[in-house]
Symmetry: C2
Subunit: 320 residues, 2 copies
């Protein structure tokens, strides 16, 4: 099957043409999410049509458009449900109408972490495994779960994907989601500057010299012996470790895949989470494997084919 | 269908004969869990046979024995998996052989919180709802989930039931399960005395006068204006509130049922958890309902019939 694929991120929109488990053409455009989703859609459409041209693929060969979007997606009507997504107008944009109008194609929409998991599960680090959790470490913290071979969605589409919004410190920081002490508000790129500058050691630290503080810098400075960076790194890894254990306790996976932009520092992160889980997860049946993602940006693009296929099968079975 | 039912608790073993959704006879015997499970089984068998006699039911009318047990149960062979359950010898006892020998009946075994949920879901507070979570507040903290009409078990039987072992304070107390800051080790009857005596205000509190401190006393003293009891009650409700939000974020239910011995103080607990969830749960689709269990001790007994039925259907479909 051939499909068009869009993966809307906070900073970048990744686009692709996918056929039979392969990304046959792809491109990246800036998200400019401070503008609006509506204003980016013409650019997205043009880029997808160009990719088809480049790959020598006709639109009539495509069966649908698979879209990955950073929000809760209503499973009943496949609409963007969250009011505080990356694009302020996301919940008001009718992506289905857009896909029909631009390409004459059916659109299938799913949450971004769930799409990353579908990709890794069918084509990447989770291939052959029926019980998998993904943790995406980045601006926010995402998650998704496959349990006994079924993608977990839940009645309102939010099962599995709120893993970054499980409380890991009940008397902790308030989170944008309304909860307290979520992993995401304790340690993620979105709160990194705030958490770093709150440390009393910050001003004496090499972290203070950075204009654009990232976890890459935190882990690098920690490796160079900066005590403040070490404190911040330790605290961060405890939060991410606890989040991972919570997801293991909640969903009973054999495999956890760590993904997301912050995994650029995977040499520091992967062993720390592996050790945390080995020490703290309660799994009398054996040991959960913790691995890095294999597909990176291509995971969600590849997932587009699976998603369009799933929705077509659902529609056929509904018609029968 | 008629079945025998046993619900093994830490303090009491509840026994019943169940027919067509009704407990037609029931009894309670002390667990004496400091002795051994093996030594209690003859007493359990005699009591069940007596119940049948009392109810005028012949053993040959019964289709199986449904057993609720406080442990992770291996879903592959229905054995007790945990090494640190309520009875020290639990994992070494072959309950299936026992049921065959004593009654000539098939035994079906399931985790206790999951059994309480099955009971409430099919016959009690969760009737008609396809997306339900139970939270059991007692010596330990238990949980279980039904998602989109399916009981959540997971590959190794631990999905849903480790809700009391989700970390709610990543830098908190160590837990018997090996994890840190689990809800159960922050606030449950098993740690109540320890948590109370750690408060600097404890010695001046009316809590210090109690020989056998319970949450009933804590909530009563808090209601009478004891500041130390108020501090402990507030901390406890924050832990249980956070645990409930974590389960809502993990499993996407419409309904949460609160159960367990501590719910004797439900006038204090239910409104507090309802308020915590209304304030902190992220559910853009609407509001999760929080209710008290309806069936109490009978939930797990009634669940025995559902469980035996499920296993018989599974066996038939395997044979076909």
């Amino acid at each position: 099957m051939t499909v068009l694929a869009c993966d809307f991120g906070g900073r970048r929109i990744k686009l692709g043409v996918v056929r039979a488990g392969h990304v046959v053409a792809h491109a990246v455009i800036p998200a400019q999410s401070h503008e609006s989703l509506a204003s980016r859609l013409p650019v997205v459409a043009n880029s997808l049509l160009e990719l088809c041209d480049d790959a020598g693929i006709q639109l009539r060969e495509c069966r649908g458009v698979g879209v990955s979007y950073p929000s809760i997606i209503d499973p009943a009507d496949e609409r963007i449900l969250d009011q505080f997504g990356k694009f302020a107008d996301g919940a008001r944009v009718d992506l289905h109408a857009w896909a029909q109008q631009e390409f004459g194609l059916r659109l299938a929409l799913e949450n971004d972490a769930r799409m990353a998991l579908i990709g890794e599960w069918r084509y990447g680090a989770g291939r052959g495994c029926d019980n998998v959790v993904i943790v995406t470490l980045g601006t926010g913290l995402g998650a998704a779960a496959v349990i006994e071979g079924r993608l977990l969605r839940g009645r309102h589409g939010q099962a599995g994907i709120l893993g970054g919004h499980l409380t890991v410190r009940y008397n902790g920081w308030p989170c944008v989601c309304g909860n307290i002490g979520c992993a995401e508000t304790e340690a993620s790129t979105s709160v990194l500057v705030e958490r770093a500058t709150q440390l009393s050691c910050f001003k004496q630290s090499c972290l203070a010299a950075e204009n654009d503080l990232t976890y890459e810098t935190v882990f690098r400075c920690a490796g160079q012996g900066d005590e403040c960076a070490q404190e911040l790194a330790q605290q961060t890894l405890a939060v991410w470790g606890s989040m991972t254990v919570n997801l293991i306790h909640a969903y009973d996976p054999e495999l956890v895949i760590l993904a997301g932009g912050v995994m650029g520092s995977q040499d520091r992160i992967l062993p720390a989470i592996q050790q945390w889980v080995a020490k703290h997860a309660h799994t009398p049946w054996g040991q959960v494997q913790i691995v890095a993602s294999q597909l990176g940006d291509h995971a969600a693009l590849l997932a587009a084919e699976w998603l369009v296929q799933e929705r077509l099968v659902n529609e056929e079975s509904t018609r029968e």
